[in-house]
C-alpha cells in the first residue's frame, strides 16, 4: 500500500507504485490476450515508414483524428455573440450536450444553449411540435432577447423547414409574432464548424436586414462611416476581439463588432452567474447594414456572409487570421483606407516593438521547420508569420481546407524563399500528419490539444495554438491578432523552443555543455 494521507498520491504517481505495476503486468499476461511485444514493436516501426505513409495517404473512406468539428458547433459559437441571445439547436439533445461541453472545456466558461430534444417520434412525424413547445419554454424560462435557431444532422435528414416551423410557432403563440428568431440550416454532414459559423452569421444578418423572414419590410441602407468587423470562429475570440476593439478605439472610428463573444466567454467570478454578457446589440446588428464596409478576419469562415454583405452595398475585406507584422499591416492599412484615418502613432510604435522582438529572437527560429494544422485561415496566418520569422512551414494541413485555400497557401509559399520546400494538405487528418512527421520530420508542430498525441508518437515538440485547447489554461484570453497578438505567438513559439533546447542539453557530463543561461 503506497497511498498515504499526508501526501496523497493521485493517478500521476499512484499507478507507478510496485503493486500497481504488478497488477498491470498480471492483467496483461493472463487476461488481455494482446499481441506479443515484438509484434507491437514491429508494427509500430512499420507505421513510421514511407510504405505506411503511402498506404495511409491512399485512404479514401476512413477519417482518423480529424482536425475539424461539425457545423452546429460553429452555429452556437456565432449565436452567443449577440446580446441576450440563446442558441436553440433543432434536433437531438445529445448534440447540444456535446457543444456545451466542448466550449466549456476550451474556455473554462459555461455555455448556454438549448435543444428541441427530438427523439424517435420526431424522427417519424417531424419536429414541429418540439419547435412549438421548445421555443415557448426557452422564451419563458431564460427570457432571452433573441433565440437563434440552427439544426443538427437529424433535423436536416428528415427535412424540417425552420422558416415554416418558426412561423407556425409564432402563429400558435409560443413566442410573440414580432420576436426575433433568426435561423440557419446547419447540417453536420456539410462543411465543418466554420461553415456553421458562416451560415448562422449570415442567417442573423439576413433576419435583421432582409425583413425578418418576410414579416416586416426589408431595411433600407442609409450609408454611414462605420466599419463592421467579423471575427469568425476563433478559439482566441476573448483576447482577439478585445484587442481589435482597442485598435479601433485608437483609430477613433465608429465600428460594430458583429458577433462579439468576448464577454460571454469571459465572465467574472463574483458571486453572480451571467447567462448573457456583452454581445452585439440587436440594434447594432440591424444598423450594421449602413456601415461603409465589413472586415472579416477569416475569409474561409465567412464565405457566404461576405458576399451577402457585399450584395447589400458595402465593401467587404477578407483577411486570413492576421498574425504577425505583414498580416497586421494589411489590417491597419485597410482600416486606414476605408476610414480615411491615419494609422495611430501608438500602433506604429507597437509594430516597431514587434519587429524589435523578432530581431532579438529570430536567430533561434531561422530555418527551423514547422508543421501546422488547424482551421484554414489560422493555418494561413501562422504560415505567413513563420515565413516572416525565417522559418519553414513545411507541412500545412487543414482537414476543412478547400482546394482554393490550398492554392492560396501555395501562392504564399511561392512568395518566399523559405516556402520552397513547404507543402499544403487540404482535406487531410492528423493520422496523415503523423505519417508526414515520421517520413519528413520537422522541428516543431503547431496545433491544438490533440497534437499532444502526435508529439508523443513522433517526438515533435508541440506549440499549442488553435482550437480546442483543453489541456492548457487561459490561452484564449490572449490575442493572436495585431502586433500585440503577434508578440504573444512569438513568445509561445520561443518558450517551447527554449524548453526543447534545454531538454536536449540537460544530461550532466554529456550534453550539458550547451545548457546555457543566456540565450
Amino acid at each position: 500500500m503506497s497511498q498515504n494521507a499526508e501526501k496523497v498520491l493521485d493517478h500521476f504517481n499512484l499507478f507507478r507504485e510496485p503493486e500497481y505495476v504488478e497488477l498491470f503486468e498480471n492483467k496483461r499476461k493472463e487476461f488481455e490476450f494482446m499481441p506479443p511485444d515484438e509484434q507491437v514493436a514491429e508494427i509500430r516501426e512499420w507505421t513510421k515508414t514511407e510504405e505506411y505513409k503511402e498506404k495511409n495517404f491512399a485512404r479514401e473512406a476512413l477519417t482518423v483524428n480529424p482536425a475539424k468539428a461539425c457545423q452546429p458547433l460553429g452555429a452556437v459559437f456565432a449565436a452567443v455573440g449577440f446580446e441576450g441571445t440563446i442558441p436553440f439547436v433543432h434536433g437531438s439533445q445529445g448534440c447540444v450536450a456535446y457543444y456545451r461541453s466542448h466550449f466549456s472545456r476550451h474556455f473554462k466558461e459555461p455555455t448556454s444553449c438549448v435543444s428541441s430534444s427530438m427523439t424517435e417520434d420526431a424522427a417519424v412525424f417531424g419536429g414541429l411540435n418540439n419547435m412549438i413547445d421548445g421555443l415557448a419554454n426557452t422564451y419563458n424560462m431564460y427570457k432571452p432577447k433573441m433565440i437563434a435557431v440552427s439544426t443538427t444532422c437529424m433535423a436536416e435528414v428528415i427535412g424540417d423547414d425552420l422558416n415554416a416551423f418558426i412561423k407556425t410557432s409564432k402563429e400558435k403563440g409560443s413566442i410573440p409574432a414580432e420576436y426575433d428568431v433568426p435561423f440557419a440550416h446547419t447540417p453536420a454532414f456539410v462543411g465543418s464548424h466554420i461553415t456553421g459559423y458562416d451560415n448562422v452569421m449570415k442567417g442573423i444578418l439576413q433576419h435583421f436586414w432582409d425583413g425578418k423572414a418576410g414579416t416586416v419590410p426589408a431595411l433600407e441602407r442609409k450609408p454611414n462611416e462605420s466599419i463592421n468587423f467579423l471575427g469568425g470562429f476563433d478559439g482566441y475570440t476573448v483576447g482577439n476581439i478585445r484587442e481589435i476593439k482597442r485598435i479601433f478605439n485608437l483609430f477613433g472610428i465608429d465600428y460594430t463588432i458583429i458577433g462579439d463573444n468576448s464577454d460571454v466567454w469571459d465572465t467574472p467570478t463574483d458571486g453572480e452567474f451571467r447567462m448573457y454578457d456583452g454581445g452585439t446589440t440587436l440594434e447594432d446588428t440591424a444598423n450594421a447594414l449602413n456601415a461603409k464596409a465589413t472586415i472579416s478576419m477569416q475569409e474561409y469562415c465567412t464565405e457566404k456572409t461576405l458576399p451577402f454583405i457585399a450584395e447589400h452595398g458595402q465593401e467587404v475585406v477578407a483577411l486570413n487570421h492576421p498574425i504577425g507584422v505583414a498580416g497586421t499591416d494589411r489590417l491597419l492599412l485597410e482600416i486606414a483606407r476605408l476610414t480615411g484615418k491615419e494609422i495611430p502613432a501608438e500602433l506604429e510604435k507597437e509594430r516597431g516593438r514587434l519587429v524589435d522582438a523578432i530581431a532579438d529572437s529570430t536567430a533561434h527560429i531561422h530555418g527551423q521547420k514547422f508543421a501546422i494544422y488547424g482551421d484554414p485561415d489560422l493555418c494561413y496566418g501562422l504560415a505567413e508569420f513563420l515565413l516572416e520569422l525565417g522559418a519553414e512551414p513545411t507541412h500545412v494541413l487543414a482537414t476543412n481546407g478547400s482546394k482554393a485555400w490550398a492554392e492560396k497557401v501555395q501562392a504564399l509559399f511561392d512568395s518566399s524563399p523559405f516556402g520552397k520546400n513547404c507543402k499544403v494538405y487540404p482535406g487531410k487528418d492528423l493520422w496523415h500528419m503523423r505519417s508526414l512527421l515520421f517520413t519528413d520530420p520537422v522541428d516543431f508542430l503547431i496545433g491544438n490539444t490533440y497534437g499532444k498525441y502526435l508529439e508523443r508518437d513522433t517526438g515533435t515538440p508541440l506549440i499549442r495554438i488553435g482550437f480546442p485547447i483543453f489541456d492548457r489554461h487561459h490561452k484564449h484570453r490572449y490575442p493572436v491578432w495585431g502586433y500585440q497578438g503577434g508578440l504573444n505567438v512569438l513568445v509561445w513559439i520561443l518558450d517551447r523552443l527554449f524548453e526543447s533546447i534545454d531538454a536536449n542539453t540537460i544530461i550532466p557530463a554529456k550534453t550539458d555543455y550547451s545548457f546555457d543561461i543566456i540565450r
Binding site: 493521485d10 493517478h11 499512484l14 493472463e30 490476450f33 495511409n56 450536450a97 430534444s117 427530438m118 424560462m141
Partner: protein, 486 residues
Amino acid sequence: MSLTVEQVKQRNKDLIKEVLEVYPEKTAKRRAKHLGTFEEGKPDCGVKSNVKSIPGVMTIRGCAYAGSKGVVWGPIKDMIHISHGPVGCGQYSWASRRNYYIGTTGVDTFVTMQFTSDFQEKDIVFGGDKKLEKIIDEIQDLFPLNHGITVQSECPIGLIGDDIEAVSKKKNKEYNGHTIVPVRCEGFRGVSQSLGHHIANDAVRDWVFDKAGDKHPEFKTTPYDVAIIGDYNIGGDAWSSRILLEEMGLRVIAQWSGDGSLAELENTPKAKLNVLHCYRSMNYISRHLEEKYGVPWVEYNFFGPTKIAESLRTIAGYFDDKIKEGAERVIAKYQPLMQAVIDKYRPRLEGKKVMLFVGGLRPRHVIGAYEDLGMEIVGTGYEFGHNDDYQRTTHYVKDGTLIYDDVTGFEFEKFVEAVQPDLVGSGIKEKYVFQKMGVPFRQMHSWDYSGPYHGYDGFAIFARDMDMAINNPVWGLAKTPWKKAA
C-alpha cells in the same frame, strides 16, 4: 441556523413551486412530476424518471450514441470504434472521458483516437454502406493489430436506412471471423444516454458472446474468478478497485469496460461472479450473463471506507472462508490509512452540505463517501436514472432530501441559490455556472482530471479533492472588499 426536517420539506415545496411558476402551464405540469422531496419510509424517491426531456429547456442529458460509444464500447481498448456518420459526435467524444488504459495507442490500442466515416451530403443521399465496407478494409490495412471493430451509429444512419448489420456480417466473413459489431445507438433513440447503454449491452450479447465460441481454449478458470462490470476506469478507478479484489484472493478475469479488451469480454461468461459497479449502464448484460450462463451478479459500491467494507464483505459472501478472511484482512489493512484520511480531512469538512447531480450510479453511491467525511447530502438527482435507481437511492438519502430528476439548468441554478450548499458535484456543463456564483464545485463524472476516487486509494484522493474545493482561498476572493463592506 439549521432547519428541522419539516422546515426543509416546506422550503423544498415552496422552492419547487417557485421554479415551476416560470414555465408555461403544460411544461410546469410535466416538470412537477420530476421534482420532489424524499419522504422516509417510501419505496422510492417519489419522482418520475426516464421520460423524454422537454424541448427548449437546458437538459444536462446526452444521447444514445454518447451512452454506447462514450461509455460502454469506447473504453474497450483493443477494438476500433467507428463513429459512423458526420464528424461531430466522434470529435466531441474524442478522449474526453479519461478512460485510462495501458497499450500502444494506434498500434494495439485505440481508445484515445477518433475514427469516423465523416459523412458528407452524398453519403446521406446515396447511403453509407459502401463507404463503411471500405472503411473496414482500410482499418484492416492500416491497423492490423486491432482485435475488432464496432460501428457506432450516429443519428443519420437509422434515418437513411443503412444496413450496418449486413455490412458487419459480410466483413466478418471476409476477415475470417474478425469481430465486427454494429451498434444501433443513433442519438435520437430513447430519452437519454441510458438507452445507448442498453443497446450497447445487447450488442455485446449478440455480437460478442454469441459469436465467441471457444475462442480462448488456453484460458483456465479457477473457483475465484470474478469480472468487474460497469467501471469505466475514470482516472484509474477500476485499477484501484481491482487491486482490492485481488488482495482478498479473487482473480479478476475481466474489466468492463475501462482498460478492457475483447478477450476479457469473451471470457466473462466463465466468471463465478460478476461484480457490478455502475448498475445503470451494465445491469442488462449482468442479467443476461446470469440467465444464459448462470453467473450470479452482485452490486458493489467502492466510494468511501464504510461502503467499501460493506461491499467487500458482500462480495466475499459468495465465496468460501478463504475469501471471507481475505476481505477482513483487506479491510483491516487499509483501516489505518482510512483513519488517517478521516482524521485529517473530517475536521475541515464536517457539516458541509452537498448537492449532487450526476449520471449512472453516482447520485447515490458517492453519498456514503461524503458521510464518511461528516458531510451531508441535501439534494440529489439523476441525469438519466430509471425508477429502479430511485428505489435504490432510498437506502442512501435522508428524510427531506431534495430530489430532482433530469434537472434543467434553470431549476438547478434556482435550487442551488436557495439551498446554498457548500459544494456542488455535477459535470463540466454545470461547473462554471456554480463557480461563478462562488459555490465550490467538483466534477463528479470525470473527477476534474484527478482520481481515482474508487477504492481505498481513491478515497484519500476524494477527501483531499473535496477539501481542496471547499476550503480553497479563491472563494474568499469572489466578493470585492468594497462591496463586502457596503
